[in-house]
Every structure is written in structure tokens, then in C-alpha cells.
């Protein structure tokens, strides 16, 4: 089961199997009933950062992207960068603005980025999963409790051309 941050939750409902008939005739009937719940995680938008602002005066920006799972374990979080950088708006680009690189760190052990531990946003264009990164981003220690890993961004160099720059990070979590 894979879920997207800020998107509706998906789940799978398997068709119920028919009862196994075992006719009896007397004063009691006994039926064994079972059901299952698959492992699942969901982002907690109410406890997550929806936007961060980077600038020359504050090249670090920190927030949280929170989630909870119904099991104890290590969900896989994938982050995808839409632009692979802070991309200038068309108007700013017309004035000569160019994409600006920045770094991303996310996870339970993430702290202030400051350029020492992050990966460039360009590495996230096709999506980068926690399983493929040495940082070991996420884990849950209690089922159905919200975990709030830190998301830390860092502007790798000052922006020299005035304008509007933006990127969109999409988070998915599985299962």
C-alpha cells in the first residue's frame, strides 16, 4: 500500500471468503471468524510543514513531514523533486534567473542541514527512496503513533539574481 502526502488514502479490501459449511443440528452453532489488517502508513498533514522558504539571509530551513503506521518497522519514504532545484518563475527567467541548487535531508536523525549531510535536489528528480540512501530516514517504534521526522533544506550558494524561485517535493510512503 503506497500513500502520497496530502492525497487521499488508498487501501485494499479483499473480497470476503464464503463460509465453510459444516451443517450441524442441535442446540449450538460455532463459527470461527477471522479478519486481517494489512500494514499501512499515512502522512499526517495536520502535523506537517506545507511550505519552507529559503533565502540568502536564511540558507537553512527546517520543517517536519509527519506520518504514522499501524505496525512497528521501517516504512519506505520516497521524495521526488519536481524541478531538481529552485527553478525561477518564467518572468524571473526572462530577466536571466537560473535554477539554484539546494540540498535535502529528511529523517528521524536529520537535524540542521548546513550543507554537510544533504543530497542535492537534482538527485531526487526521479524519486529517491529511503531504502536506497545510507541515511536510514525513517522508522516507527509504536504502531499508530505519529512520527515527525525533520525535513531540512539548505541553499548551497547565494542567489545572485532577484526573482521568484520554487520547487515542489512530493513524499510517498509505503506500505
Amino acid at each position: 500500500m503506497k500513500k502520497l502526502f496530502a492525497l487521499s488514502v488508498l487501501a485494499v479490501a479483499a473480497a470476503a471468503a464464503p463460509a465453510v459449511a459444516a451443517p450441524i443440528d442441535g442446540s449450538t452453532i460455532s463459527v470461527a471468524v477471522d479478519a486481517s489488517l494489512a500494514k499501512a502508513c499515512a502522512f499526517d498533514s495536520g502535523n506537517s510543514t506545507s511550505s519552507l522558504t529559503l533565502g540568502n539571509d536564511a540558507r537553512d530551513a527546517n520543517g517536519t513531514v509527519a506520518y504514522s503506521c499501524n505496525y512497528i518497522g521501517t516504512p519506505v519514504v520516497t521524495i521526488t523533486s519536481a524541478n531538481g532545484a529552485l527553478a525561477p518563475s518564467p518572468a524571473s527567467a526572462a530577466w536571466g534567473a537560473v535554477p539554484v541548487a539546494y540540498q535535502i535531508v529528511y529523517g528521524d536523525r536529520a537535524t540542521q542541514n548546513s550543507g554537510s549531510t544533504g543530497l542535492l535536489a537534482s538527485e531526487f528528480v526521479d524519486g529517491l527512496s529511503s531504502t536506497t540512501d545510507q541515511l536510514g530516514w525513517t522508522s516507527t517504534t509504536e504502531p499508530n503513533e505519529t512520527v515527525s521526522p525533520t525535513l531540512s533544506l539548505y541553499l548551497t550558494r547565494p542567489i545572485t539574481i532577484a526573482g521568484d524561485y520554487s520547487d515542489t517535493l512530493t513524499f510517498t510512503i509505503a506500505p
Binding site: 487501501a11 485494499v12 479490501a13 449450538t28 463459527v31 479478519a35
Partner: protein, 164 residues
């Protein structure tokens, strides 16, 4: 009684014909008495019902379960007992409550099985003796009931019993 008295009279006056008076009786009465105890039976499909993945809710049909009684003016008493007071996770204590519907007259008490309602009893409405009252037993887990529960397999055993 007249015949019986006459036989005794003959027995006293003519002892030589000791066996004759019984054979000559004009009538006799034989009183037969018996008791048919109140009794009901419950029958139908029992076994295992797998509801499958329940995170979005799940419903299953146990099958048709019938009740037959020899009662005249009162319905039988039905008791539903949940072994775990809900669907209980393997290896843990977490419970998922569920609903159980068996739409015989008087079974509205079986709407839900929760941690506080491990056993519920209902008195069915009276129905004609010798006839079967039947309905499918439906078990339902709502999405709300499954929300916030741990991943895993949940189980329960339902025993439906009838009295008398």
C-alpha cells in the same frame, strides 16, 4: 366402574372361578399419561468465516441458520457468545468490534459485539411449533472499527445457542 365392582363381587362369592371375572368385564379404562418437554434446535452452516482485509470495512455471510421449536406461545431464548469479546489480534490483546445481524424477529440485540458485550441474549418472538425460522447470519466490521488498529490477523469464535 360398574364392571370392576361386579368383578370383585364375583371374586368374593365364587372363589372357584378366580380368573373368570376379569375376562367377563364389560369395560375397562387405561389412562395413558406422558410429557413432551419443550425443545428447540438450531441448525445451519457453521465453520470458518474469513472476512479478509478489513481496513475499509468487511462483511461476510456465515450462512443460513434456522431455528425450530415445539413451543406454542413463547419464542426460544438465543444466546450469542463471543470468545474474545471482539476480533482479537494474534499474539496481542487489541480488539476490533464487529456487528452481527440475524434478522429473525427479536434478534435486534445482536447488533454489535464489543469488548463489553461478549455475551448477549435475546428472546425471539413466538412462532408456530414445528416450523423453521431462518435467516442468514451476517458479520460486519466497519472501517471506523478497524481504524487505528495494528496490522495483523484478528480472530474470534462465535457460539450461537438456543434454549430450551
Amino acid at each position: 366402574m360398574l364392571g370392576a365392582s361386579r368383578a370383585l363381587w364375583h371374586f368374593a362369592a365364587v372363589p372357584a372361578v378366580l380368573c373368570a371375572p376379569q375376562a367377563q368385564a364389560a369395560s375397562a379404562q387405561l389412562v395413558l399419561a406422558g410429557n413432551v418437554p419443550a425443545h428447540c434446535t438450531i441448525s445451519g452452516a457453521a465453520g470458518t468465516l474469513s472476512l479478509g482485509e478489513a481496513s475499509r470495512g468487511a462483511t461476510g455471510d456465515v450462512g443460513n441458520v434456522a431455528v425450530t421449536c415445539n413451543l406454542v406461545d413463547v419464542g426460544p431464548s438465543i444466546t450469542l457468545s463471543s470468545a474474545n469479546r471482539g476480533l482479537k489480534i494474534d499474539g496481542g490483546e487489541q480488539l476490533i468490534p464487529y456487528g452481527l445481524q440475524w434478522n429473525l424477529p427479536g434478534t435486534t440485540a445482536f447488533d454489535a459485539v464489543t469488548s463489553t458485550d461478549g455475551t448477549v441474549t435475546a428472546q425471539l418472538d413466538a412462532f408456530a411449533p414445528g416450523t423453521a425460522q431462518s435467516a442468514h447470519v451476517i458479520v460486519n466490521v466497519s472501517a471506523a472499527a478497524a481504524s487505528g488498529k495494528m496490522a495483523g490477523t484478528y480472530r474470534d469464535v462465535i457460539v450461537i445457542s438456543i434454549s430450551p
